[in-house]
Point group: none
Chain length 237, copies 2
């Protein structure tokens, strides 16, 4: 069931959009200000974003730009009372995928959401998240929200699990602290913040230290962290 985030502060319009989209078979969430919307976008990674331009907090322009700058590529559909060609052109140029001027029909909204989804669907198909991640000695199951080490629960907290999942989903690739903070905490990285490090340490205590055979989280000095299952050498204490 594709997930959609609606960023819209007008409660009447928001609920109308939500209702129609749910009826069309989408899993819909609503955020009524820009900052909350941005947080949810970063954190939950919906399949489509429907964004009003005029929002309290971060406005629709900055949300769109921010998403693209942070490398998120989900379709963004702008809805707005502003109907000038200038606004449309600018929105499309900074990375929006579609622009609907109010008032618009709900059927059109649904059709445009479906069209946007169809496009991104054919795009991501090959690497569609196969959800469950299995490597020697470790199973990460986002469905059950559990990680099992050598067959039995590793006892991770919610935060630790998310961090592990984000890392494991990009197996082999080094992620910077900023990327991790964005995806796990949903907020930008502040210099000298050690939260990521501490959470990594907890993870290592529960995985690397407890596993007899493997070490999973590697440090890239000056870069960040990387998920990469390596066999422990005899030298390891």
């Amino acid at each position: 069931m594709p997930r959609i985030l609606i960023a819209e502060d007008d409660a009447v319009i928001a609920s109308a959009m939500a209702t129609h989209l749910r009826h069309a078979g989408f899993d819909v969430e609503v955020a009524d200000d820009g900052d909350r919307a941005m947080r949810k976008l970063r954190f939950e990674r919906p399949d489509v974003a429907v964004v009003d331009l005029m929002l309290p907090g971060m406005d629709g322009w900055r949300i769109t730009e921010g998403l693209r700058e942070e490398g998120m590529r989900m379709p963004v559909i702008i809805v707005s009372a502003r109907a000038s060609e200038q606004d449309k052109v600018h929105a499309l140029q900074i990375g929006a995928d579609d622009y609907l001027a109010k008032p618009f029909g709900m059927a059109e909204l649904v059709a445009r959401v479906q069209a946007a989804l169809r496009r991104s669907r054919t795009a991501v198909e090959p690497a569609s998240h196969a959800d469950r991640i299995e490597v020697p000695g470790l199973v990460v199951d986002p469905d059950l929200h559990r990680a099992a080490l050598d067959g039995h629960d590793a006892g991770l907290t919610a935060l630790e699990f998310r961090l592990l999942y984000v890392l494991a989903a990009e197996q082999g690739r080094a992620l910077t602290r900023d990327q991790l903070q964005q995806r796990v905490w949903g907020v930008p990285y502040r210099p000298r913040d050690r939260s990521v490090d501490v959470c990594i340490r907890k993870l290592r205590e529960k995985l690397d230290r407890r596993s007899l055979t493997h070490t999973y989280i590697q440090t890239h000095y000056g870069v960040g962290y990387r998920f990469d299952p390596l066999e422990k050498t005899a030298a390891t204490a």
Copy 2:
């Protein structure tokens, strides 16, 4: 230069669209009836199709449906005098990517074409593995932030990696110290600064010295350095 086919029978509108799209840097062709348009679409496979609904011969509906049935996935943007929600919804459902009701501004058309193109482009490249560099015995992967020598990690630092990547990206060409300092350190070269030399030396320790078969970094006396994989001769210690 991306190619666009316009299917439009109104000569005035067609030439206006063509002019503006050409001005935006596209290679544009116009077909003034549906059958001709379909033939060109099949044969020339443009990157984007801009299609009027009302056309002599095959109409826009059937063109859109036909394209999708035949497995062609290029973006289709419908332009039409019909502005009813029903028409929009139907067009999007049968596979159109966007719908512009006449009259529309040329700037908006251009922006929507560009947006459609951007989408289909990012679709092909899942944003990774775009610029991996491979030469005999060495793989430089900017995505993973790692360089692998004969299959296993070379253990480069962040700076060393950047330097290697800049050099390797311009394979065979000699780069001056100034160019390297600019692109790796981001600051201009100061006379008698040996940073580049020292970093080069570290790279050679980790690549040339460790590889049994190749030497990668060559010196141009009085000029700078050059990335060029050469087989080691028997004479080399």
